[in-house]
Amino acid sequence: MSVTDSRDVPEADRLGGLLAPAGPPRRAGALAATATFGWRAMLKIKHEPKQLVDVVAIPVVFTVLFTYVFGGALGGTPGEYLRTLLPGTLVMGVVSCTMYGGARLAQDVTTGVFDRFRALPVWRGALVLGGLLGDAGRYLIAASISVALGVAIGYRPDGGVPGVVAGVALVIAFGLALSWLWAAVALLVRDPATVMSLGLAVLMPPTFASNIFVQPRTMPGWLRAFVEVNPISHVADAARGLMNGTGGAAPVAWSLAATAAITLVFAPVALHLYARRA
């Protein structure tokens, strides 16, 4: 039988030299493993660009719609309104895609490739942290599209490049805090579709009940109270201040505090849930 077998199997002959003894086992360090999982997350974005449709569509649709339809009424002129709106839709664009990383993680832990990752001698947090690197890439894409679109339709950030960079960095940091939240949710429900629908249901109300589109002056008292404590409002205010070069330190401080608080609560929860499975 071996005669027939070998004739059929050219690759077996080429295998010989590849199976040299490996020598003492090597291990990927925690950083290298995390970077590798981050690269993998970026590859997945590259291979499935359709997952970027939402990431692109939300800031584009809301920026254009609100600027031209409501801008005149809300802000005097569309150009004036854009100064308020654009940093807000930037926040919205990033916040509304924070559950994608969680959905990815839910998919990872329920498929066979996860067992293969677990069977490797690498630091177990690397998959989760690497996923967050991928999230950061996704947020950067969403933010860049918002800013580029804004500039194309007449937004002039008085904060200049440093202001825009600082604003975008702040928004991405807040997005990463929410990434931890969705990572924890993903490890609890372990179903990508559930993470996505929970994401929409949970993120949509506070995104609109914020100061992204209108200042809360005309809202009923209870809603105004919510809008004023809503971290999304603080992040939007901070981004406006930094990008327009008008801001004080208070909104930035509140945003960083909210970012830190959400991270400090949900990162340990997510890592704990993950460690139970890994």
Binding site: M1, E11, L15, G112, V113, D115, R116, P121
Partner: protein
């Protein structure tokens, strides 16, 4: 071969694993010598995959002890993980990534440098005749291509011990023969192979020793010839039927051969 001399690659005593009301493993004893191809033969649900998951440190046993390459499965996980590779039914590839990217990712996670993992990916893709599909997502691969890549991913760093969980299940005969020949080459190069299979012919052709497992227990263990002699039967099919009372298993084996 290493500090354990010509010792055992796998040594298990009384492994027990309980899932709810089911005793998936009900006292498994195993001794696999280094350099052997060891066949773990049994019908679906016999406990083959659970045993491999325990030996690969992916699942903790509820009872019993096991040492792999001289390291305890509970206390030597890192040591074991850096020396074994797992491939098969439950441990698989990343469907969204290309074949090349899969290999590079696993190379990096095995501790190879960026350049070394790229070089290794190219070598393996060439050796496994997958260069033409290297740039396509694995989702579109045929079963045979997938399994070749899967085995390739386990050889990025040549393991001391390779677990192959049902390597040819669902394959056409030609792909099956390819995988068999690969397993022989891997074993000839010095890697111990523990493979599970539902196919008697596969165990008969590849394995130096065979354990027949049924209902979480080892029903019989020995060389193919010993097993046949033990039951006084002429073919391994009859041995299997005598030991497990599973005509379905025998049917599957017929279908496979």
């Amino acid at each position: 071969m290493s500090k354990n001399g010509d010792g055992l690659a796998v040594e298990a005593h009384g492994l027990v694993k309980v899932y709810g009301d089911t005793r998936a493993l009900d006292g498994i004893d195993l001794a696999v010598r280094r350099g052997q191809v060891f066949g773990f033969l049994g019908p679906n649900g016999a406990g083959k995959t659970t045993t491999i998951q325990i030996l690969a440190t992916l699942v903790r046993p509820d009872g019993g002890t096991a040492r792999v390459l001289g390291f305890d499965v509970l206390h030597g996980r890192r040591e074991i993980r850096s020396r074994v590779a797992v491939t098969g039914q439950f441990a698989s590839l990343d469907d969204d990534l290309t074949g090349y990217e899969n290999l590079v990712v696993f190379g990096r996670l095995r501790g190879l440098s960026r350049a070394a993992s790229r070089r290794r990916a190219d070598e393996l893709l060439t050796a496994f005749d997958l260069t033409g599909s290297a740039g396509r997502p694995v989702r579109g691969y045929s079963g045979g291509m997938r399994r070749r890549l899967d085995i390739g991913a386990s050889l990025i760093v040549t393991p001391d011990l390779l677990f192959l969980d049902e390597p040819t299940t669902g394959m056409d005969p030609r792909s099956q023969i390819q995988v068999w020949e690969l397993v022989r080459r891997i074993a000839a190069a010095g890697t111990t192979v523990l493979l599970t299979t539902q196919y008697l012919e596969e165990a008969d052709r590849l394995a130096d020793r065979i354990a027949v497992v049924d209902h979480g227990r080892i029903a019989a263990e020995g060389t193919s010839a010993q097993l046949k002699a033990q039951v006084g039967a002429g073919t391994l099919h009859e041995v299997f039927f005598a030991l497990t009372g599973d005509p379905a298993g025998a049917d599957r084996a017929e279908a496979a051969s």
